[in-house]
């Protein structure tokens, strides 16, 4: 099973990278983009096939190491 963990800055926290990308897109003529948030994607290959157990464990990993929950939100997607 693979856990895909996406980590982005919390809403309300200025994302200067996202702003830079937004401006670059605008200068390319993509004026319809309202906001950009740049984040990280981590793919974790897990030994388990127990989805509930995996979810709990990856959540703990996010809280302890993968994300800094003072500034970041995380989203976990489990794929077989």
């Amino acid at each position: 099973m693979t856990a895909k963990v996406s980590i982005t800055l919390k809403h309300g926290i200025l994302d200067p990278q996202g702003q830079a990308v937004l401006h670059a897109l605008g200068s390319l003529g993509y004026g319809g983009v309202k906001d950009v948030r740049v984040g990280k994607l981590l793919e974790l290959k897990l030994a388990t096939h127990d989805k509930a157990g995996a979810e709990a464990e990856v959540k703990a990993m996010c809280e302890r190491l993968l994300a800094n929950t003072i500034i970041e939100d995380y989203r976990i997607e489990l794929v077989d």
Partner: protein
């Protein structure tokens, strides 16, 4: 230990690059002994203070300080800090202290997205700490910064608490001491350049006092911080009781 010569431990992580500068500053500026402490050590030898130096511990992988905080030595430093030991985190050391939860808040990328390496001015907003006793209230120090992630952030409740307890020790300012948006190099919340924990025995700051403590290097303002720490050490053990103003 009371009779043992004073000694400061300087942590060394893979990627630390200010460890030798700090060792030099402790021995040559403060005039006491310094010992390198490798990140794999799970116990600290008897020490009067710990310095967590700047650099790029673990390549800044994931987030600055995120991996370093789980190294064995940081568990020992946490116990040392919790028992009232003096801990000074400079630049990446500050980032590690934040990730370790020894100081509140987190670091974001600089607002400009650039790595900024230049002198800045900071105002000393609390002189009643073990690290600022030689400074005058409101004194403006010129110190160098060199970082890409120095944009301090915390939630509003924590910021209010930091201010109420005088834990904001250094703020970026103009030459006349005014804290202005223009004088804030990295977008740091409330222009914060350095904070202590509630007890006051742990300080983290982004500027580098060890790089600005010798006339030969053109700036001696950093001496005030190093010699304040020396005063605190020679006065005896800093108790874990708050000494905030």
């Amino acid at each position: 230990m009371a009779d043992a010569p004073s000694r400061i431990g300087v942590l060394v992580f893979p990627g630390s690059n200010c460890d030798r500068d700090c060792h030099h500053a402790v021995e040559q500026i403060m005039g006491i002994s310094a010992a390198f402490i490798w990140h794999k050590e799970s116990e600290l030898p008897p020490l009067d203070a710990v310095i967590i130096p700047g650099g790029f511990s673990y390549g800044d992988y994931l987030r600055t300080g995120a991996i370093a905080r789980f190294s064995p030595v940081m568990a020992a430093v946490t116990r040392f800090a919790e028992s009232g030991g003096l801990v000074l985190g400079i630049c990446n050391g500050f980032q590690i202290l934040l990730e370790a939860g020894l100081l509140p808040g987190a670091m974001l990328r600089n607002r400009s997205l650039s790595f900024i390496c230049r002198d800045v001015r900071v105002r000393v907003d609390n002189t009643a700490t073990p690290f600022t006793g030689r400074c005058k209230p409101g004194q403006v120090l010129t110190l160098p910064i060199a970082h890409a992630e120095g944009n301090y952030y915390t939630d509003p409740a924590t910021l209010a608490s930091l201010k109420a307890k005088n834990q904001v020790v250094f703020r970026y300012c103009a030459a006349d001491g005014q804290v202005t948006p223009e004088a804030n190099p990295n977008g740091s919340l409330d222009s914060i350049a350095g904070i202590t924990n509630a007890a006051g025995n742990v300080l983290g700051l982004m500027p580098h006092p060890e790089r600005s403590a010798e006339a030969l290097l053109g700036n001696e303002d950093g001496r005030l911080i190093l010699l304040s720490l020396l005063d605190s050490i020679t006065r005896g053990r800093f108790s874990s009781k708050p000494v905030m103003a």
